[in-house]
Amino acid sequence: MSESILSITLRSLYISSTAALIAFASAVALSAFLARAPRRRAEMALGVFEALVGMPTTVIGLFVYMLLYPQGPLGFARLLYTPIAIVIGQFLVALPMAFTSMFRPFYELRECARELVLSLGCSEKHATKVLLRELAPVLTSSYLLAFSRAIGELGVALIVGGGIEGYTSVLTTAIAVRTSIGDYEVAIQMGLILLSITISLALILKVFGERVLWR
């Protein structure tokens, strides 16, 4: 009746890392774009995203459901209750997190550090390189935040994924379903797996970062 925890875990990893990666890439693009904007406008945009960080994932789930259900605007694509539906939802969940955590350093760096670097005699190209290296730890943290928000959310996965065994069941939905049928032991086991995944990923990325990226 139930699928193995390993395969649920792998699916979770695959779906959430994809969603977090897309959210992260979009946040980088958005930051690069807004870093050129006047300070006031950039602050406004940041404020909006900061408010969106706490958006209940169930609301985002319902929103994506409205887009994807058979009579909805994207209903023709038949994406509801597929892994890709979860990726879309988790992307929306993770984007504000990724953006707000990276934007301010991005902006400050461009405003202040760039001038400093240039005045110390760097070429334009070299300056970009130096700035990106400065940003690396921020970017790592920001990806981690996005990933952890994506893999830990339940609302989207339950509503647009449906928690279908062997297809869209991810750790959080499996935990919810197991809890609802009273299998507390298995539920908590999966909770611990979820926790160890996010923590070990954080450690790996930080160590990797210290060794390689911003030595």
Partner: protein, 296 residues
């Protein structure tokens, strides 16, 4: 980490995105999404029925099961997000049927709700003549501060029935301090009732399973009432799904005849008291459904 690396990262992201699009698209070809109430899933009834259906008829269809409360299961069915549903909330079912959004395939099984409560039974539910009187006693004891009641509060089949019973009593527990809403599944609701020593209404299957797991020390079965507490399970097909896709209609018809023949035998042999097949009592159960659907 330079611009090149960043470009590489973005490219990877794009590739992964496209790949998962294709993966998702291919996998979703000929699925039959089935939404079900938690109790049928949890007892293993649904997976047994569906796999036996595939074996018996040889129909090549992949069922994907969504586990929801009856309210949500019917909603996604009416939206056409799911093609079929297995539910137990007659009055909600009737509402969607009248709107023309879902069609009933079969009333295929039934069991009983039971009133459970603390073994010392402060409200005297054991001595009540029927379920309505039992609820009245709980209300009166609750007002005196001697009893509590835990409600599902989630528009599931069980919750809908409980609300109907309160209406039959003519008393509304809404907002009373002794009336607690768990807003969760049956298991959590029962555990909550166990922990606070409260009364609750539950389907027999979930209660028996939980008791056999040894998780209920205080809570005991206090009242059965086959007349007021019958619990009817039905199968539905989504109107929009069946209209747009003749194959869905075909599978639905096959499932219907399966449920009423071989499926009945499977239920009788494997689940006995917990989920009873309707065979031999079709008219009786159908009448019970009618009564329940129009109770409001």
């Amino acid at each position: 980490m330079d611009t090149k690396a960043m470009g590489l990262l973005l490219t990877i992201a794009a590739i992964v995105a496209v790949a998962s699009c294709i993966y998702g698209g291919v996998e979703s070809r000929c699925l039959m999404i089935v939404s079900t109430t938690t109790s049928l899933y949890q007892l293993g009834v649904l997976s047994d029925l569906l796999s036996d259906f595939e074996n018996a008829t040889g129909i090549d269809v992949e069922f994907k099961v969504l586990v929801k409360g009856s309210g949500e299961a019917l909603r996604v069915l009416a939206d056409g997000s799911a093609c079929m549903a297995f539910v137990h909330a007659p009055s909600l079912e009737l509402w969607y049927v009248e709107q023309g959004k879902v069609e009933r395939l079969a009333v295929f099984a039934y069991n009983e709700f039971v009133i459970v409560g603390p073994s010392d039974d402060p409200a005297g539910v054991r001595n009540a003549t029927n379920a309505i009187e039992a609820f009245e006693r709980i209300y009166l004891a609750g007002e005196k501060g001697m009893a509590k009641f835990v409600s599902r509060g989630d528009m599931s089949g069980t919750n809908v029935r409980e609300l109907q019973l309160w209406r039959l009593v003519g008393l509304s527990p809404e907002g009373r301090p002794w009336y607690l809403k768990s807003c969760q599944g049956m298991v959590q609701t029962l555990l909550m009732a166990e922990n606070v020593g409260a009364y609750s209404l539950t389907d027999l299957g979930t209660y028996v399973r939980l008791r056999n797991q040894g998780r209920l020390q205080v809570l005991v079965e206090l009242k059965r009432d086959p007349q007021h507490l019958v619990n009817v399970y039905s199968a539905y097909v989504s109107g929009t799904c069946a209209l747009n896709d003749p194959y869905v209609r075909y599978v639905a018809q096959e499932l219907k005849s399966y449920l009423m023949t071989r499926g009945q035998e499977l239920l009788a042999s494997k689940y006995g008291d917990i989920i009873r097949p309707v065979r031999g009592r079709e008219d009786e159960v159908e009448r019970a459904w009618e009564v329940l659907a129009r109770l409001d």
